[in-house]
Amino acid sequence: MEGFLNALVVFANFVFIPGLAYGAQLALGALGVTLVFGILRFSNFAHGDLMAFGTMITILVTWWLIGMGVTLGPLPTALLALPVGIIGAVAMALLIDRLVFRFYRKQKSAGIVFVMASVGVMFVLNGIVRLIIGPNDQRFADGERFLVTVRGFREYTGLAEGLAIRLPVAITVIVAVIVVVALFWFLQYSRTGKAMRAYSDNEDLALLSGINPDKVVMVTWIIAAALATIAGVLYGLDKSFRPFTYFQLLLPIFAAAIVGGIGQPLGAIAGGFVVAFSEVTLTYAYKRVLEYLGFQPEGLVQLLSTEYKFAISFVILVLVLLIRPTGIFKGRVL
């Protein structure tokens, strides 16, 4: 029994919780991507850097707040600064749309042109963020880091193995769930949400129904930018902020969005977890777990060496898509 519990704890500590954390972080990012794709019908490569931008502003404000001696006690101060960050990101997003994407909408350009434009935007944001805050690691997490620490857990349960739950992770997971439900409800049932879907379905007909395209686009960017900032900040709180990492997050985020069914809020969540868990579970060495379960494996019992974790997550995606070509939730064609 004890052995079993230990095995369970080990598994939870090294596979389940990390997977959950990473999954939720990806999901939040994927939500923004999937929304922009769903409504504006292009994959926004600037999303990673928009995340970085929003986070950067939040960080600057956080520092200022801490400087002023304002904190949130156990909770990270960044949460106080978050709204400002969101406003900044939204402003930036709307500005970009005004300067870049609107033109192509009027032109009725092909989706791929939007994508390339977004690559251009990505470069620009890339530069701006580094110009302002530089390329270095920035840490802005204060307050409690752990809900449950390994040591605490051991002492409490008296098990040989420990378990840690980080506060940012908990927040991330909760936020992710809330946001998804909210977004899903909004798109599915609210008047504006329906208008947005109508717009993405058939622009001309939307006009004929008296839907104001500019409003739809604006709302989309506002939500997307807000999501990007939230995702970025929560991620930064858990790990740390470095512009380059945020750019690197782009690929797994896209993977998550697509596998979940592009354009589907619920899919983004599912996709995020699929990617995260396939990375962690397939490359984890199950030696310890099995030992606790009374086996005596001679090797590490590692299905795949960690070098392949990123690649393998894609294999999984392909498999998923083989079984469900439209993604986990029926998404639309890219």
Binding site: A195, R197, A198, N202, L205, L207, L208, S209, N212
Partner: protein, 234 residues
């Protein structure tokens, strides 16, 4: 001075002009029908009157207001409804949502209108939850018309509403259109089922290569042998 009138409209899609000083008008409570060969410019004329392509010359009047400069969505607010000829439903949205979108600009409770649409097109009630993209050709057409009816417009413009619908549905559609007209709404439609259409039309236009060839009452046009021969298939 008609309620809705496109006067001497000239313009096209950027390339050569499609319309050549073509004039279309319709009165409140009246049904006007446009017929003509394929590619004559009927749909273009409709789009022009709805502000979906820019005119080089001519103007569009609604009531006694010049709406030439208005954007399509503003014309909707001004009380115009339009059913395009192609891609006229939201394929990814359910039938019901399609109808709701029709009523987008309405703030009041439109459940009664929806009920009316449903008993006009019973099949739609059955399929209300199904994505419009999965409907049959004729069913789509019914959704499209239903969508336009939801706006409760003062002018209703229909581009070949009966293309691909079964005879019985066509009859009911025309019945309904007559009723709608009777309530004082101006109705302008393009039709290739020209004979049935002209039969209920107060006024008919024959367009050829972007300009008016004949303009007369429905019966008159039906009676006119030349028109019959070259446009109504004998």
């Amino acid at each position: 001075m008609s309620f809705l009138i496109g006067e001497a409209m000239t313009g096209g899609y950027g390339g050569a002009d499609i319309l050549h000083s073509c004039t279309i008008a319709v009165e409140k409570g009246e049904i006007a029908v446009i017929v003509g060969p394929n590619g004559a410019g009927k749909s273009t004329a409709m789009k022009a009157m709805f502000g979906m392509l820019s005119l080089r010359q001519g103007r569009v009047m609604l009531g006694d207001r010049d709406i030439t400069a208005l954007s399509p969505q503003d014309r909707v607010k001004a009380g115009m409804g339009f059913v395009p000829q192609t891609s006229n439903v939201f394929v990814t949205m359910s039938v019901q949502e399609n109808l709701e979108m029709g009523a987008y600009i309405r703030q009041d409770d439109f459940s009664d209108t929806m009920a009316q649409v449903f008993d006009l097109f019973p099949i739609l009630k059955e399929k209300r939850r199904q994505p419009a993209g999965e409907l049959s050709g004729g069913q789509r057409q019914q959704v499209a018309v239903g969508r336009a009816l939801m706006t409760r417009p003062s002018v209703l413009m229909l581009d070949e509403p009966t293309a691909g619908v079964s005879p019985i549905v066509m009859d009911e559609l025309f019945d309904r259109i007559l009723e709608v007209a009777a309530t004082g709404i101006a109705i302008l439609m393009v039709e290739q089922n020209a004979r049935q259409a002209l039969a209920i039309a107060d006024r008919g236009y024959v367009l050829v290569q972007g300009s008016n060839r004949f303009t007369d009452t429905g019966e008159a046009l039906l009676a006119n042998p030349e028109v019959r021969a070259s446009f109504l298939g004998g």
